[in-house]
Amino acid sequence: MALDDTKRDFKVIGQRVVRPDGIDKVTGKAQYGADLILPGMLWGAVVRSPHAHAKILKIDASEALKLDGVEAVVTRADFVEQKGDNFADNLDNIMAGKKALYDGHAVAAVAATSQRLANKAAKLVKVEYEILPHVTEVDEAMKADAPVLHEGRKYTGAPAGSGPNVTHYQDYGHGDLDAGFAKADMVIERSFKSEGVHQGYIEPHACVANYNTDGRGETWVCTQGPFMIRDFTAAFNGFNISQVRVTPSEIGGGFGGKAHIFIEPVAAALSKKTGRPVKMAMTRSEVLRATGPTISGHIDVKIGMKKDGTITAGYLGMRAQGGAYPSGTVDMATQAAFAAYDLENVKSEGWNVVTNRPKEAAYRAPGAPLGVWGVESVLDELCQELNLDPMEVRIKNAAKKGTKSSYGPTFDDMGLLTALEAAKAHPHWNAPLDGPNKGRGLSCGFWFNFGGATSVSLQINSDGTASVTEGNPDIGGSRASISMMAAETLGLPFEKVRTIVADTNSIGFNQETNGSRVTFAVGLATIKAAEAAIKVMCGRAAKIWGIDEEAVDWVDGAAVPSGPNAGDFPPMTLAEIAKVAVQTGGPIAGHHEVTADGAGVSFGVHIADVEVDPETGKTTVLRYTAFQDAGKAIHPDYVEGQMQGGAVQGIGWALNEEYIYGADGRLQNDGFLDYRIPVASDLPMIDAVILEIPNPGHPYGVRGVGETGIVPPLAAIGNAVSRATGVRMTKLPMSPPTVLKAIS
């Protein structure tokens, strides 16, 4: 691709333009999932299992339906049974069949004329359960005699002889581990354990479904994937996809957790049954009990190192749970674990097991933080034991262009070494740590990044402006960055372009907003759509001038003859061409549809300074700096925001966030009081340093930046706490009781 473009002087790209959604968001005009109210609308409520594992013997809704204003009840029997694991598991997750598999699992839903009445009716739905033994811990679930979640189900990915809940195994690597460890001057082995963590988005899941009994209608929903919502809603309700129109609302955070289906087909089923619009909005408790935390589990790491800091071999094994349904996310943990290093001998392997917990959902660089936490912790301990500089050891072993990665592919241009060198030279790394009980931690981080199926359309307006239509909800500033890339390509100022996120009937198919894909893939498609429009505009100019289309170039927002031989005409601007478009052949537009490849890997390096109170075990983050390769930062504010947001979520994961289950298998902390995400006053300013090593796979060099930021903090904080206390931390979260116990 035209990588030369990245060396040119950009006019719009790289500027910090005012965000287009800012006024709506600060004035409260922005319409989120729960904001829509329609005439005649009903309100839904879900009946959820209070048991971690139970057979559903009978559901009796007669008392609920007797209440005046209760209009419908749906259970599993109201949905179309699915074939194929993905659709079948998702249906079973949003509405339990024969068994409830976790505390909070939906078993029925009601629609009534008010939320209060719906809640009351939900309490009156009588569900007869036969309580079964449950299992929420990974190692318990792996045992041969563990309670079985899915009796009789065979998992083709599980190794022979595995327990009945083991669903999956995969390994990666190359070289000879034994030979590698034999060459080491020191080998350290450690076992780590993490707890479940949730994405913690501020806006709970919410939607309004408005269907007719004939199966035609629409859904308004807060989601990362309107097309995903459309396809599942259609399948589960027996609708034809063409009859289902999904409009994504403004979105108050997702981090992967809203790339999944939950209440939306249920609202559609209630709406279909009543012929009236139905709103459903989760409470925070429902969000924490029934939507996706990420995987958690045990991580064993063994690394060998020479006295000079050369890593001779590395091993990581992870036993993960991803809730009540099969999950392959452990593979991303094991693939990412050693990705930052150029290793001769490396192996990583992972197992997944089902447990009586909510179905795992994607969470920002799914799995990667855990694998990297294990590896970077043991690396740090080796540096301490061998008295080596942790920065130099990382630079010495860093993966670079041409490195065969631990998970297979050979790396192209990438920014890890640049990030490490920038960190090494940064004032933070070189500032002294004054006083006792303080420590500084360092960690690298990696994420694959993703492209995926993408459609964009762009129209040139009669006043010389452009409108872009895309299909990916804006969770990280994409409307701004897409407008900027369109403006740059067309040669317009930013103010003359507006991008909207359209409904599923107004644009071609798009995969979910995930994998840090939108600025990369939608940006790429936008540039191509703009180029298609430019081609049309050059054709119009050629027609007006009476010269060949090939003899017209596009320079600075205007058509110009390509050289003296083409003819002597003054430049014809976009506005001039647009004004006469209808007379010269019709409206001017461009569109592009692609499954984007070449997303370009993303690396980051984080430095954390902490102070640990030796009397309470409480960790205070004193200073934090994040370095990350953005390829090309389209809008630096948003790139910094992604880096800071990722770092903060990682700090929360490291220090206080955890799913706490009681002996009864019920979630104990289903609210933000006791599921402790960081508050603003917990944190120092997160200093973000953007590095730009262009991605050869994008016209302007863009790499996704959304996920890498959450990968290094677990180890950066863990290494800092370990150095501050002199005790190696191997358990997450490093909450005060855990740290105090470890150091006492």
Binding site: E615, K618, L655, L673, V679, K741
Partner: protein
């Protein structure tokens, strides 16, 4: 649900005394409204006491202070004389919730919610605060220490409401302090807490009261901890003895917020730290 906003104490008491079913008294509402929204309670009657004259006043009386039942945390914090006299009481109240919550939340609500972890209660008890209660049988005065009798339970009888608190006049060289432990820096509930109220004479502690929170079903006054520092200038040995006495008085539970072991140790640590702050505030030199 019936909502009433009486204009007199007598009307409030009559409404509550005559009500059938579940009642809730509303002052700031920062606990009651949350409980309503979570569906934890569905009261038949809610009585808002904010419109009763005097409920939102802080008045000085004989060197002490009388604080109306609907005075918010923010109003306490803006009363310079109260802050100077009882910084520990004020800082306890100001730790409740967020800035927004501070505009509404009251000492009364925090006390009557009867959480073992209530932040304003230990310092009130340490200050020997007295609650004035109105009820069908007339008014009575009760030490704040005797109001909460267990998690979610108070000694108030049907129809009774707290109308005000009184903080007594202080001698010179007296002050207080309150500290709590939370894993974060705000918007959280105490895992353990300690209030210390003390009076100095000639640089030494002559009177002290130490009260712990979140380590037992109600706030715990620890006379043995006070004895450990009376007569001292808070040398390390007396502080250690005080911390040990605090640990011995703890009777906490292990739950999602902390373990028995952690709460016990932290209560002692906080008492030591709070004692040092109160000592310095009272003019002590260490």
């Amino acid at each position: 649900m019936r909502f009433e906003q009486p204009k007199t104490v007598n009307d409030a008491v009559s409404l509550l005394a005559d009500a059938d079913g579940l009642t809730r008294v509303l002052a700031g509402g920062t606990d009651v409204l949350v409980q309503l929204r979570l569906g934890m309670v569905e009261p038949d009657l809610v009585v808002d006491i904010k419109a009763i004259p005097g409920m939102r006043d802080i008045t000085e009386e004989n060197g002490g202070f009388t604080i109306g039942a609907a005075v918010s945390g923010a109003e306490l914090g803006e009363h310079a004389k109260l802050v100077a006299a009882y910084p520990g009481v004020v800082e306890g109240m100001e730790l409740v919730g967020s800035t927004q919550v501070q505009g509404r939340a009251t000492l009364t609500g925090n006390l009557c919610n009867a959480s073992p972890a209530a932040d304003s209660v230990p310092a009130m008890i340490a200050a020997d605060a007295i609650a004035t209660i109105a009820g069908p049988d007339g008014p009575r005065e009760v030490p704040v220490a005797d109001i909460a009798i267990g998690p979610g339970k108070t000694s108030l009888k049907k129809g009774e409401i707290i109308t005000s608190f009184h903080l007594p006049a202080r001698p010179a060289n007296a002050s207080d302090a309150y500290l709590r432990f939370i894993p974060r820096t705000e918007m959280d509930i105490a895992v353990a807490s300690a209030a210390v109220n003390l009076t100095l004479k000639e640089g030494k502690v002559v009177a002290a009261k130490i009260v712990l929170g979140a380590v037992a079903p109600t706030a715990v006054t620890v006379p043995a901890a006070a004895d450990a520092i009376i007569g001292t200038a808070l040398d390390d040995a007396s502080l250690d003895a005080m911390a040990k006495a605090c640990e011995a008085a703890c009777n906490p539970i292990t739950d999602k917020r902390g373990t028995i072991e952690f709460r016990t140790k932290t209560a002692g640590t906080l008492a030591k730290r709070a004692a040092k702050i109160a000592f310095a505030r009272a003019g002590g030199k260490s």
